[in-house]
Amino acid sequence: MTTVYVSGLHSGPSPSAGVGTARAIRAAYPDARIVGVDYWHGSSGLHHEVFDDLWLLPSWEYLDRHAHSKAIRARLDDGAFFISTLDLEVRWLAETLGGHERLLVPKLSSLQPTLKPAQSLTDLLPLAVPETLSLERSDAEIYEFCRRHSWRCWLKGPFHDAIFVADWRTLLAARDFLEHRWQSNNLFLQAHVRATEESVCLAAYEGEILGAIHMEKRLTTAEGKTWAGRVIALPDYLLTPIQRLVRRLGWTGGAEIELFKDCDAERWFNEWNPRFPAWIYGATLAGFNLPAQLIARAQGLPAPQCVATSDSFTRVVLEVPVRLEIGLPLPTEPDHSEVVSTSKYDAGLPELLHTIEAQPDGRQRLRAQPPTPFDADTRADLSAVDFAAIKTPARVFLPGVADALFGKFTHRIVKYAGGRAAPTGAYSIKTAPYPEYIALARRHGLLAECISQAEVETALQGGFLPEEIVLNGPGKWWPRTRTPAKGLYALFCDSVEELTAVARSPGLARVVGARLKLPSIPSRFGIPVDEPDTFDALVQAVRGLAVDVVFGIHFHLASSAIGITRWWDAFEAVLAWGRAIECASKRRVTMLDLGGGWHPEDFAALDLGAALRAAEEALPSLGRVLFEPGKALTQPTMLLTTRILEVRRAKGSIQDAIVDTCIAELPLANFFPHPIWLRGLDGEWHGLGRGHQQLYGRICMEDDRIASNLALPETLAPGDILLIGDAGGYNRSMAYEFGRGGQEDVAGLARAACIAAH
């Protein structure tokens, strides 16, 4: 009689494959003795009738792995087979017992190339590959990756878990959670693919494919797990390369290749799982009994017959009686501090990973990945500051860096001039409404973009003329104590009501336009063009504009929040809607205003020429395009200098440090990564790389965390000086006065002029 041990019996919403594998074997071999193996008393599959016997072991945390491997070997030597459906157990078995003829899992050499993200496999497969990035890279690279992929990324664990991350704060929280859960830094980001999900499943023995199928997921759980699907034989165009790959890997056992099928029907590789999937019995119902084929081949027997009852399967929820000899775990006492949940990870799998990766006490050491050294402009600016005597915290303006940034922008504007639509640069007053920036904007020939009458006043006081001002936003007439400025360069309305009112007030601006709110990108701003009634009203309002008024449209979505590719998608949509407004209103769109929200690196890489060509092509009467880079012009032009107040240690190692600045002075501290440098005794600046320590601010707010996951040197001491990068832009203009005891704004941090490196 054939005896088969099958491990991984958890059968919850995110099930292991043991029950399905056992049911498939039972379907082909009714007389086989099937023993279920698990490491957690709560695995519900323990109670399934398919198992003749059970081998319930303590969790991996308390398992004596040497004794366990000996016990498995004894069973294998005694003629039994062992099929594991637990990824980590598969790897452990490959390490400890790999090569045993009745151990039906891949060898370690087969497994290594399949470890996530397993991108080397795709050289041999006709599949596209989503881009991935190891989380060992610097925070700046991680942030860039997410922006580039429009904040549609998955943060994936070393073997299990994937968390969708849509912004930097979510990413920080997900990284903390997964690093803590798995006690591993071996995480990576994977770009999201807009696609339906499919799987390839195969059984192989010593590199020979015994059977392979293709499953199209039709229904999935909230966790993305298969609930129902359709199964067919694997098409040749996939089978042939997979056969080649399996042969090269010398694979033995089950495997699942998770795929995406995108909107163009292109298939993408997601991941390779080194075991049968949990839905494997569904394939048996469709006439493909891969576990039985594996057992047969391992015994040198012909594959058993398998009759299809349907080409599709679905799951149903069933109650089964609990085995008396196993019973149920007792409930855990509910507690305030955490929501109790149970999963297959309760079997101590993180502990097993910890052992496999042979980490010494605690987590692995991270590669430092410090921020890049200061460039020449920054070094020159910093050389003018006496850091030994500086009163901290203080914001340091970098005049050379700022001048170079503004200069590069105007140079690019000039470079792309000459076409039908003239590019023009604009400076957003709200990003930094301070004299030094306004002077730079004027000197470099930019317009002033304002969102209130107060900002208009600031621009006028700074030397701008009304005809050099662009007025935007939902509250542009605030405060009403002032007579609204007239004769502006351009004015873009945020609602149909405003546009109608402006149309009745001649002389406000040479250009009058509308800010458009696009479908599918949530925003509280602009006129929703996809609402037919609103679109009609917009068209009527545009028709009501005086004939000597130039009509324009305004588009403002922060690319740093929605990402680059989505920004371009939105830009193309705006052009299409502009054309629709032209057609309906018989008024030409003559000006296009492209709003800010750019990360400095992204704006530097933005193809202004491509944007101009696309706009000219879509809007035949377009005469001008305003580029307003927003924070890209100001964010990198200031540093925040702060001193260490206290260094906190536990068990002899540095844990975190308190600094004399806070989130009131760096309000976006946790919205994007900030590079940080430590001043050495020699006066040189040394970038702080990735690590496990935190920098906390001085005020009494729980979220006053200035930086996380830093490698603070053990020599760090109170009084040491740090420089925090990207402290300009909104980090200055949105700073607030909390925590200063009502004293005068310390060192001009919040609103007044800062310490400047003049």
Partner: protein, 168 residues
């Protein structure tokens, strides 16, 4: 410490077991005897230390509680691994039989009724859970009076079998 972990007084329950202990400390071997100052600093503590901690916390809250021991049935496939883990630890208490293990718990008395708390797992033991993995097959209370635990009457320092025919 217990109050700050458990916030007993915020939810109005008369007795709140120190479930935080099972999250704060791992279960594992420690040498005996062990001093309080060593125990609180340990990463892993055994059920005897868990029980001592729990009784100290409950007593400080004015709860009438006593030490108790249970015999639990786990089977040799499990006990073999625990035996291996505890083997060779100097001073570690021998608590493992072939199928059965000896386990320190806490009895909370409410009038003449006993509730049995397992601080190592952070859960209350049920007098009806006398079959299956981890079944309680025997209990001995170190209390000065008789208490009812389900259908069982616990007497001072006497082993009460919850399952007939069990012996060790």
């Amino acid at each position: 410490m217990a109050a700050s972990y458990a916030f007993r007084r915020t939810d109005g329950t008369p007795i709140a077991a120190p479930t935080f202990l099972a999250r704060r400390y791992k279960w594992g071997p420690n040498p005996w005897p062990i001093a309080w100052c060593e125990a609180v600093r340990a990463d892993a503590i055994d059920c005897g230390v868990f029980s001592a901690f729990a009784r100290a916390i409950l007593s400080a809250q004015g709860v009438e509680c006593y030490s108790a021991q249970v015999m639990q049935l786990f089977g040799p496939e499990t006990t073999a691994h625990w035996r291996q883990r505890w083997a060779g630890r100097p001073g570690a208490f021998n608590w493992i039989d072939n199928d059965l293990v000896y386990h320190e718990v806490v009895i909370v008395a409410s009038g003449d009724v006993a509730e049995v708390f397992d601080p190592s797992q952070g859960q209350w033991l049920s007098p009806t859970a006398d079959t299956g993995y981890g079944a309680v097959v025997g209990i001995r209370a170190k209390c000065p009076k008789s208490l009812l635990w389900g259908r069982h009457t616990l007497s001072t320092d006497q082993w009460i079998l919850t399952v007939p025919g069990i012996s060790w």
